[in-house]
Amino acid sequence: MERETVLKLDNVTMQFGGLVAVGDFDMNLEDGELVGLIGPNGAGKTTVFNVITGIYTPTKGKVIFRGIDITGLPPHYITHLGIARTFQNIRLFGDMTVMENVLVSQHHKLEERHADKILQKHGFEPKVVGKGWFWKSILKLGYFEMERRMIREAEELLEKVELSDLAYEKASALPYGMQRKLEIARALATEPKLLLLDEPAAGMNPHETEELMEFIKKIRDDFNLTILLIEHDMKVVMGICERIVVMDYGRIISKGTPAEVRNDPKVVEAYLGDGSYA
């Protein structure tokens, strides 16, 4: 069965001065796939994420998301179009409650009308409802209806990810594993089609990692997501990813199923060296 291409990276190069962080990067993600992006430290994995989410504009090449050329669009546009991410080092809004953290992710539905036009132009459902929310929220005219809707949606989401009990706790007061989970929930609240997870299992114990793997598989099915994840924990990568892309020094050195990648001598070399010093 032919699946729809969700994300296409076409010959993307990201250069910082003389340093080529990512070079000639090609990648296709199909609808519903769970793909792992691995590689030694400094290979350029997070740079790929930053290019996809618009934090960096690539020096060369194109990023195409559901047929929309998103190269060089600002991050908030790209989030509105349907790409959400988490961060390697947790970046929650620490002083706000779990509920507020999730509600923030719905804010773009009041504001991003320009990004909405791009969605409509490519034949997708618009996400912004009504306009003039800034004035409506000051004058409280017709705003409460929206607020109630946002809270209802946030409650539903928290229910699904089993964080309801902690809804009114401060985000910074949560245990580490829960903070990781909240970061994923917050990304889900933007209603993404593609989810980018940057080392979701970092710092977790084996038990928490096990739970996380189940959780990632569950949200992919519940929310119809395509997931690209960076991970160093090989148990996670080999356990849940259908396809793996291996990077080293900014370039793709291998790709394929977990079994293929595991047996690729180039991958072994990248991680362990070529044996010339042995």
Binding site: T53, I55, P74, P75, H76, T79, H80, A84, R85, F87, R91, L92, F93, G94, D95, M96, E100, L103, V104, S105, Q106, H107, H108, L110, E111, E112, W133, F134, S137, I138, L139, K140, Y143, F144, M146, E147, M150, E155, S164, D165, A167, Y168, R186, A187, T190
Partner: protein, 357 residues
């Protein structure tokens, strides 16, 4: 099942309580005007003005996390704009003897309300022009830029003699600012900024304060929201400037009046009250206004433990600073921290008291 330990009152109830509270405040102000002497009425009026300044600055600094030191610049713009608009034509001719006032300012006179609103709009326009390029900076750099901006405004006022009367300042303003104008505008300020903060926009602004990069990744247009907050804050700073000018009845470009010292005073108020709390800013403004007046007693000769202490001018500021240092050492995050005194929080406070019994 969501187990909620924090209960919320119904919205209708809160609106009702707020209306009752506002009516109560009006009654209190009315009584104050009847019973208190002019000295205390002036202090009450000043609390209202300081309240607007503090709330608008805490909206910029505490809630959005833009560390701006340019507040006095906006206040100065507001003060001069409205003063030039409300002064009578004869008064202007009398004041501007170094250089005559340029047209059209020399031939118009407006009522206080319109002048105040125009003052706010002028400050907001300026905030947009300043904010658009400088909000790309963060932290210390932004603080220095905005500080520089407020000083530029002051220097411009000092030197644009045909518009501002330069170092002589504007004198003989009508004392329009009675007890009602500042407290009325304070109500408007708190309602507008309060409803913004409690809405989705407020959450977005707080998210920007907590982590701008994450906020961007969650679909928030960070620059646009920061600029909006900056402009809204500056608008109310302009309003407060207008009220301030017509409370002083004279306005001049000294640092104490509309310069950096004013910014620092407001900063003290909001840090004392709790950076990021609107009710905290109000408490801070009230405490600052009352203390800085009441402490005048230490500038008169008095006896302490049998020792005669002579009158030392400026002693007030020394004592005031010491008090603030002590307060900041005991309450690291100010009186209110980042929390607000709302109907919900009062209700929950009593619920907790009952649960303990």
């Amino acid at each position: 099942m969501i187990t909620v330990l924090y209960r919320k009152l119904p919205t209708r109830m809160k609106v009702f309580l707020t209306i009752i509270f506002v009516l109560f405040m009006i009654l209190m102000l009315f009584l104050a005007q009847k019973k208190l002497d002019t000295y205390w009425i002036r202090i009450l009026t000043l609390i209202g003005i300081y309240g607007i300044m503090a709330v608008s600055l805490t909206f910029i600094n505490g809630i959005t996390g833009i560390f701006s030191l340019g507040h006095s610049g906006f206040i100065a713009i507001g003060a001069y704009t409205s003063a030039l608009l409300t002064m009578s034509i004869q008064q202007k001719q009398m004041s501007f003897f170094l250089k005559p006032l340029i047209w059209p300012l020399n031939s118009i006179q407006l009522d206080f309300l319109s002048a105040t609103i125009i003052a706010g709009v002028m400050a907001a326009i300026l905030a947009y022009l300043i904010g658009y390029p400088s909000l790309r900076l963060t932290g210390d750099y932004l603080a220095i830029t905005t500080l520089g901006f407020s000083e530029i405004v002051r220097i411009l006022i000092l030197n644009m003699i045909s518009v501002t009367n330069g170092p002589l300042g504007l004198k003989g303003l009508e004392e329009y600012t009675n007890i009602w104008w500042p407290w009325g505008w304070l109500l408007v300020t708190v309602l507008v900024i309060g409803s913004l903060v409690s809405s989705s926009y407020g959450r977005a602004l707080k998210a920007i304060r907590e982590d701008p990069i994450a906020a961007k990744a969650m679909g928030i247009n960070v620059t646009k929201h920061q600029l909006t907050a900056f402009v809204v804050g500056a608008f109310f700073a302009g309003i407060s400037g207008s009220l301030y000018a017509h409370w002083l009845t004279t306005i001049d470009p000294r640092p104490q009046t509309v310069g950096i010292l004013l910014t620092f005073n407001i900063l003290i108020m909001i840090v004392l009250g709790g950076l990021g709390s609107i009710t905290g800013a109000l408490f801070g403004a009230a405490i600052f206004a009352i203390l800085s007046e009441w402490l005048r007693i230490v500038e008169t000769p008095f006896k302490l433990f049998g020792i005669q202490i002579p009158a030392i001018s400026g002693m007030r500021l020394l004592v005031l600073s010491t008090i603030f240092i002590i307060v900041m050492l005991t309450w690291r995050r100010g009186i209110m921290g980042r929390s607000e005194l709302t109907w919900d929080s009062i209700y929950n406070f009593f619920l907790r008291l009952r649960r303990k019994q």
